[in-house]
Symmetry: C2
Subunit: 770 residues, 2 copies
């Protein structure tokens, strides 16, 4: 990190711009929005997993005193709410704001009311009379694919919503070259995003027919676009404000949720602002988790540990609506199956399958990667065990060579995976611990590769920001990237201040409000630092040039001889010749009439997606790949099956850390989520009904539960990222579960292939083994 | 107006973007801002016109239950609130937010409190004990200049705050060439701005130390700068919002008012938001009117009516603080004395004089021009009468030739004054009416030249806007120019839509909030249409180019072959080859990753002010001069002196009308203000105390009082203005009073030289004549 020493702010531990708001409790969330005459909206949902709606009668509800509006699908726009809605061609128009003729899962929105207060609204819901004809339902995705299973949609054969097949190399030949063939099936569970803020929004229409929506979102700009598209009004008439976002994790990425449209229409019909705010139970019942995957993995391996071929079959239970399921399956395949280890010959068949389970295909931290990495990294240890090889050694033997091209034609610019493995192993005393082999104690490892943003809408991966100099040398930086808690605004502040040579406090970052924002995809896909950061660097470089031009006049110097630091511009070889930036901006505005505005537009330098070409750039991939390796150490009580996590070591190639505090915070947060994914969290359903109503039933790891965490920051200086930085938000979660499961196997020799690895499963496996 | 026929929106009658808000009563003003825990601030002012403050004791007030903060000058920043505060060198540091050691007028702010409600705050003011040593006061500016008058400031000789002298040509020679010499003295009164919204603001500090101020202002950007300068905090920490502004007329231009700083400091001290809102009585008492002028005019005229020389002496009563007095005197001199009629030899001596009258030197519609035009245009009729010449003919003989250069080196690009005179006279049947000579009926004329913006801070006259394309072909246009009721946002919308070839409703104008604004001087000096309009045109032209580049790809055409109209871009010679702008923006964003942002920066093309050179550009002048001629027809009752206004004809050279509705609205509004200035309005004081407490004591003309108004729009196509447009806001008021006074003289042969021309004055003059 020698570069960091040259920097004023990059690579340092910089306090978060939003810290004081959050620690003082002054940060306002949509739930804090209180508008005059605001009503409370409540949504009636389906009690049946599969049923035909015969009739809906809201007349009794409407007559209840204090009820201001009641709506059914008849009041709704006729546009379905699909993922990547207007850009993606051929989407299935299936998820309407309110169910039209059928409900396909328990929890599907059926009708809604707005009333003076919550209790009236709840009372009104009870007065809505919905007559259903109950239909046979299906909950198991593999059963759902069978010919005689009940069908969710007319014309959809075997409930298969989407398929994806890929072949790279010669798979049969690869298996012929193998000394061993391994076949395993792995499963993952639905995990709840566990954002501390419950879902909801406030909608208010003004006299001109403009809609303002306050809602936690990772993508205000996209939500504005989608809401305006669905409501069939101009984008000029929609303003989306993300006041603050109490956790994203994918739940608030891209998706225009039904409650948003329902709330908007209720507000319009009632002529008053409406707030819809889920209770915790509703938030659990809305579910909308990561899709559970079934991954069937067949791998050919030579005696020396080299992979020769892989055949992968995935079945993704998308519930009743595909939403992001295909994207997640695709990303999981490319990252974990293709780009993590060299597997020259691969065949992939993926199926997104409808069931009558609740929506489970929202984006989720990792976007398919954790599900597939669970399979790949579990099987790597099965292979190592069979070959009698150190699992670390097996992994190292299957890495790419520096500069090597993947079967997809992909080259990893900054390939920090070997160093991540090395550093994680060193820090965790891997070899020593492996030798020790203490009873019931074990150590496990898993690796990851991920993306820093990905091409969406077929073609683009874009961020843009505006930087505006103020007369006194302070600067406004506008981004429509939400600060959802990741520290991105601080990253923006650092990059702008570093590039401009100004002081940190002179950069005011504003955003998360489409009224002040420029085109921005948002805060998801581990893209914000990479993409928004690049846009900020471009804008700041341009601004610096503008400042230098003015300063050159003031200092009677040449532009190319100037440098800036700590709020002053000076002549490189004569630093006593200097002028404060505040005087430069004053002079520019009031003496020259120069208004200093710069824009920064970043487009990931990847050509448009050509679906006919199976080559780089592959769909959904990027320029800058984050890598990582995590090592878990556990002790398992063989009597109870209880797993005690002793330590977690996480080495992550972040390219270059912009804010060390935030990098370590992301690592710690991701590991906590990974612990839950590995061991405890499971949003269980029974016959399509979510059984969890409360955090009492759903174990999210809290401070006292967390083991010792050792974050290791690996620096590789990516060519494309700003100051060499790559993404980190999602990667951290990816390898945690297999690392822990591998450690459990190492400790007591049982292999659990279905997440979460509960004490019950361990105990059962131990009993079966005995 | 043949050009208008080619335009889609320019020159048309376009509904105002803010109309629906205002007619439905939904437009929110600062008075509507209600924040949680907001306190009410009240200000204690001096009851003496001149006194030394011995002590201020707020302890009793502070102990009153419900009082949250009390402040005196000790709590205030030590920066005085002067006009053009940080840019103007050598200003007198005289107007502190709260009086420090002396009070110099009745109404000077002395202390303030913030309390839970208004009655507690008022009660608290009574408990503040201020001990004064009363000093001798002076109220007449001419007396004030005498050696033995009481002095307001140490070191200010004869209470003369500022002087300005100019000589052009050879004045003595000019008078020698004259056949007649006229010497007259004219006086004007203080006129109240009569904004329907009373003054005030709401201030709120957040946990990060950022100040948000809601206040009606014509210049949010400058107010942000001045407030941050006075409070000694970064501009990044100040946000000024002009929610709506219930009338500007100069009262809210530039000036950071004491109540703003007091409110901010009260809010900081109390730790809660504070609202300060003047009652109507307080608003009258705060006075802050246009400065009353004494103009002594000596004019030499040949028998043929040609002016040969002029000697002008002005005395401007600025009260205790100069503020904009010097600027107004200067502008009044240049417009009415130098640029209205050719007077080759001119000598000018101006004095800004302190008195113990209330503040009377806020900017005011016309900025000195109405005061001086009152003198010039009254004397023109005196001259015509003496020469036995038609006053119109006298005026026409003293106009500039087309292309002629003034003594100040100034060339009028689009010189519509002759046409204004011709059209006004035709419409008013001038010659016929003059011939008729009906008893007690009269007709009078007066002309004007004004500015469209002027150079400030020595160097600049700048506007800037941002134009951002949205994905669906709608556009955000950001300006920090307030919509203060003049229609400027509609003008912005028209210019952007016309230039882009899009639909009107696709342009959303946002502004009046420094959080979304770029550098903008504001809405004053008849500059907004000219300067902001130019900035919009620049931004839209750039945006059009960006759109054409994308469309050229889509249409496989050349950029230079494209045109846009009504939301479509088409090939000029093959209009069937076309694409909607909405598809162009969609394609740009989602297929090309092109983010379409343009900035428009307009700088009046005038070099920096060189005070040593008495040449073009003269200080405070511009590129684009609005002209006008008004004709008034009256009937005077010789028994009562009562004047009945029969009709007002107003021909104004607006360059080119952007929005005909707004142009006519400005003309009508200006005339109404002019009627009050001419006949009824006078914010009278007695021994420095404002006597008016209510509109019952102050006659502003209302709908039933208004005579028939005939607005005439003269088009001259200014080279610098957007689509040829010049300013109009201020000019309309300028000639109304002398036109009416000249008509009164024409009717009954009495000449009143002091405004307003009341029935009493007429009756007295009639009696004196008899």
């Amino acid at each position: 990190m020698s570069e960091a020493e040259e920097y004023s702010y990059i690579g340092k531990r910089v306090p978060r711009v939003d810290a004081i708001w959050k620690v003082t409790g002054k940060a306002e969330y949509f739930g804090d929005v209180k508008l005059p005459h605001m009503l409370i909206g409540k949504i009636l949902t389906s009690p049946y997993p599969h049923a035909r709606i015969i009739s809906i009668d809201t007349s009794k509800a409407e007559r209840l005193s204090g009820v201001r509006a009641a709506v059914t699908s008849k009041d709704m726009p006729e546009t379905a709410l699909d993922f990547y809605l207007p850009g993606m061609k051929g989407v299935l128009f299936e998820n309407f704001p309110l169910a039209i003729d059928k409900v396909r899962f328990i929890g599907k929105e059926v009708a809604a009311v707005a009333a003076d207060n919550e209790s009236i609204a709840e009372e009104a819901l009870k007065l809505i009379d919905v007559k259903y004809e109950v239909l046979e339902a299906i909950f198991d995705p593999e059963q759902s694919m069978k010919p005689n299973a009940p069908r969710l949609y007319d014309g959809v054969e075997n409930n298969i919503a989407r398929t994806l097949s890929k072949t790279h190399g010669e798979v049969d030949k690869g298996f012929e070259e193998a000394d061993y063939i391994f076949e395993d099936e792995f499963k993952t569970q639905p995990q709840y995003h566990s954002a501390m803020e419950r879902k909801g929004c406030v909608c208010s229409w003004d006299v001109e027919g403009n809609l303002t929506m306050w809602t936690p979102t990772q993508t205000p700009h996209l939500i504005r676009w989608e809401v305006s598209t669905v409501l069939e009004i101009s984008m000029a008439k929609v303003r989306v404000i993300n006041p603050n976002c109490g956790g994203g994790f994918g739940a608030h990425a891209h998706i225009v949720h039904p409650y948003m449209i329902i709330c908007a229409i209720l507000a319009k019909k009632a002529g008053k602002p409406v707030k819809v705010e889920f209770g915790r139970g509703e938030d659990f019942a809305y579910a909308a988790t990561a899709p559970p995957f079934i991954v069937k993995l067949k791998s050919g391996v030579r005696k020396d540990g080299k992979l020769t071929a892989r055949e992968v079959k995935m079945i993704v239970d998308c519930g009743a609506h595909t939403l992001s399921a295909l994207g997640q399956m695709k990303l999981g395949y490319y990252t974990a199956c293709v780009h993590l280890y060299k597997a020259p010959n691969i065949k992939f068949d993926g199926y997104v399958v409808y069931t009558n389970n609740p929506i489970r295909t929202l984006p989720y931290r990792g976007f398919g990667n954790p599900q597939v990495a669970w399979a790949i990294e579990s099987q790597m240890d099965i292979i190592a065990d069979k070959l009698g090889m150190d699992p670390m050694e097996l992994r190292l033997r299957n890495l790419f060579e520096p500069g090597e091209i993947s079967v997809t034609g992909c080259k990893f610019d900054a390939y920090g995976l070997p160093e991540c493995i090395k550093k994680a192993a060193e820090t965790a005393n891997w070899s020593e611990k492996k030798r020790e082999g203490m009873p019931n104690r074990g150590i496990g490892m898993a690796c990851l590769v991920h993306i820093s943003g990905q091409v969406v809408y077929d073609s683009i991966e874009t961020s843009s920001v505006l930087l505006i100099a103020k007369e006194d040398g302070s600067f406004d930086l506008y981004t429509d990237c939400s600060e959802i808690g990741t520290g991105i605004w601080t990253v923006c502040q650092q990059i702008a201040a570093e590039t401009l040579g100004t002081r940190l406090e002179d950069i005011k970052v504003t955003g998360g409000d489409t009224a002040v924002g420029v085109f921005e995809l948002g805060s998801y896909a581990s893209r914000a630092t990479y993409s928004v950061g690049n846009a900020v660097k471009i804008a700041a470089t341009d601004m610096m040039q503008q400042l230098f031009e003015v300063a050159a006049t003031m200092l009677a110097a040449k532009v190319e001889d100037l440098e800036a630091k700590d709020g002053e511009i000076y002549v490189k070889n004569a630093p006593e010749q200097k002028v404060p930036i505040s005087e430069v901006t004053y002079y520019a505005h009031f003496k020259l009439g120069k208004v200093l505005i710069s824009k920064g537009i970043w487009n990931m330098p990847i050509g448009p997606y050509d679906p006919s070409a199976d080559r780089w750039p592959p769909p959904g991939m990027c320029t800058s790949y984050p890598f990582g390796c995590q090592v878990a150490e556990v002790e398992v009580d063989p009597k109870t099956g209880k797993v005690e996590l002793l330590s977690l070591t996480a080495a992550h190639d972040v390219g270059f850390p912009i804010n060390l505090n935030s990098v370590e915070g992301q690592i710690e947060g991701g590991l906590v989520m990974g612990c839950g994914y590995a061991l405890t969290e499971n949003l269980t359903t029974e016959e399509g009904r979510v059984l969890v109503t409360d955090f009492a039933d759903y174990f999210v790891w809290r401070a006292p539960d967390i083991p010792q965490i050792k974050p290791i920051v690996v620096t590789t200086n990516d060519s494309y990222g700003p100051f060499g930085a790559k993404g980190l938000g999602e990667p951290v979660l990816v390898p945690t579960a297999p690392a822990i499961a591998n450690a459990i196997y190492d400790a007591i020799g049982v292999r659990i292939k279905e997440l979460p690895v509960t004490s019950e499963k361990i105990l059962k496996a131990l009993k079966e083994r005995r």
